[in-house]
Amino acid sequence: MDFNLSDDHRMLKDMVSRFVREQCDFESRLKLISSEKGHDEAVWAQMAELGLVAAVLPERVGGLGGSGLDIMVVAEELGRKIVVEPFLATAVLGAGLLAEEGAEGRGPALLDDVIGGGHKLALAHYEPGARYNAAKVDATIAGGKLSGSKSLVINGGDADTLVVSAKDGDKLVLALVAKDAEGVAIKAFKTHDGFGAAEVTFTDVAVAADDVLLSGDAAEAALGRALARATLALCAESLGAMENARDATLEYLRTRTQFGVPIGKFQVLQHRLVDVCLEIEQVRSIVLLAASKLDAGDRDKHLSAAKALVGRVGRMVAEEAVQMHGGIGVTWELELAHVAKRLVMIDHYFGDTDYHLKRFQKLSKAA
């Protein structure tokens, strides 16, 4: 066994790490999350130029890898600086679907532009009232017309093209819809963790044969893979954010003085930060395991294990880090507060702790 990153992965990690340190500082993030756009086009273009979209796509379509570990390495570093660029929506979800082996129509041809940073994507899948149930699709596609509602579409307000799931009879279809197509209504908003999302409704939107990316069993399988990759990316982002919180708290315990000593001299705080460190190591292990199982038959069991643990530990790390910072920990001007919000809100995407515990129980019983 060897737990060291390969040279390629080491280089990828270092490159992303350096980039986010230099280009995705907290002051800029504070401005971005209050801006209408919500992210920085120039930064996204640079990320694409560095190959961060390509990194999570297979070589077959002009990518550089696309393995679970590729996703983990990039997402962890982005998570460390809680980067708000549309990596998850465009690269992991959208481009991942366009790069599916069975993909047809005009979709695959968009990939070059997506990899280059010139075209952004979003997956419009979850529906109002579905909570975290990915199997509930009431949107319909019939006679070349798409109708239905999609909820909390990540990057939905900023994407050029939406990949939309809908049912043609019993058959699942994934189709491409331009954001400005007739019959598309997008209501964009921000989330508590600083990202953009949207409620999207489709009313008799024209869908040509060329717009259909995947259908039937191929669409079901591709959607499952996309959601699995996104779940892995979120878990890895959370891991990076946890390490940020741990480092910030350690620094605070070393430098904040009360009662004449750095507060890190108090054993009660030492032990609490130790517990945080222990749990983060557990998370690193479960995320690594999930990354290694991304193409395996028991993929979903491992992803649910990771997401459930990430949800539990994410809350613990966020709460402990804030508590140990005291009052300053609950202020908008402090990066840690936003890291804590990301850690907690990650539980609200693609299934929360309870959802994944339940799914794990089911899959684990069967195995």
């Binding site: 109002p128 009232g129 909570r131 149930n133 989330t191 508590h192 009360q258 609200h348 995407y349």
Partner: protein, 399 residues
Amino acid sequence: MRLEYSEEDLAFRAEVRSFLEARLPSHIAERTKAGLALEKEDYLNWQRTLQEKQWVAHAWPKEFGGSGFTPFQKHIFEEECVRAGAPELPPFGLSMLGPVIIAFGSDEQKAHYLPRILDGTDWWCQGYSEPGSGSDLASLKTKAVRDGDHYIVNGQKTWTTLGQYADWIFCLVRTSSEGKPQTGISFLLIDLDTPGVEMRPIITIEGGHEVNEVFFDNVKVPVENLVGQENMGWTYAKYLLQHERVGIAGVAAAKETLKKLKKIASDTDDGEGGRLIDDAHFAERLANVEIDLMAMELTNLRVLAAAQAGGAPGAESSMLKIKGSVIRQELSDLMRRAVGPYALPFMPELDQLGSNMEPVGPEGAHLYAGQYFNRRKYSIYGGSNEIQRNIISKMILGL
């Protein structure tokens, strides 16, 4: 032993309930129940309405205009207020400064300040914490130097709640650096309109404006604004903190939140054809916090009964603070969990008065994550839970 309220207490509860039904304006009740901020005028109007019954100052003797409530009456009153959606009046003048002036102030101070607190003429805020003095409050550095008939004040205070509405601030200031840090502190009243005072907002984690920092640059304060004796401020501050911790458990508010949470869980689709309240995982979380709350309600009543019998609540209030904050935080966690993905939208504009923006998801859902983040303050303010544990370990366990 008898775990029920007395006939008198029940009659009192009925009286409070019918008064609230008759007099609490519905727009205030709605915003308070939704957990939204109120305007300054809303607080003041409600305070004046309550004071018609002499029901605003519970820690003041009746002869000064206080309610003279027994500990149980105060508890019942708070329960009814929360139930009806009456706002909690800011405690700074009514519960904190008032009792200090009554106990330690001069006759002139009593005659001048107390009526103005009661009728809302002066809105007070608190100047205790400093950037370098939080848990270690006695290390505070804001300095007041005597110069003839004045003190000249320089320094900075922080976490000043609702200071943006305030006219006056009561401050702990350093008047001596001799001896132990606690012995050189004085209790000073400062008019916020004095030249050299600057109040700046602190935006909290969820994006709200509740707290402020206050800067003092050569601020001239008349010596008659000193409360009690110079260098005795720490004693008065500790006296004040006793009052700060009365009702700290927040049982009434927690019970209302639990009710709301159950309603949400009953109304929420679990996404798979059932109701969230029947989901085994969620139901277990809910049951655990409800059991904790049932126990804490009785713990709180036990402490109240001891206070009613004349025992001053000591380290017991630290227990109530810890358990109360943890339970209320857990409830806020379940609120955001309950609404699932609809906890995500961040829509502060929606909560402005008169907003015609459309919500995303069920009504109010967008508020719960923000409230969860905001409620992290419960285990930090008023003496962090770590400090409360130190108090218990020293005062109760003798360690």
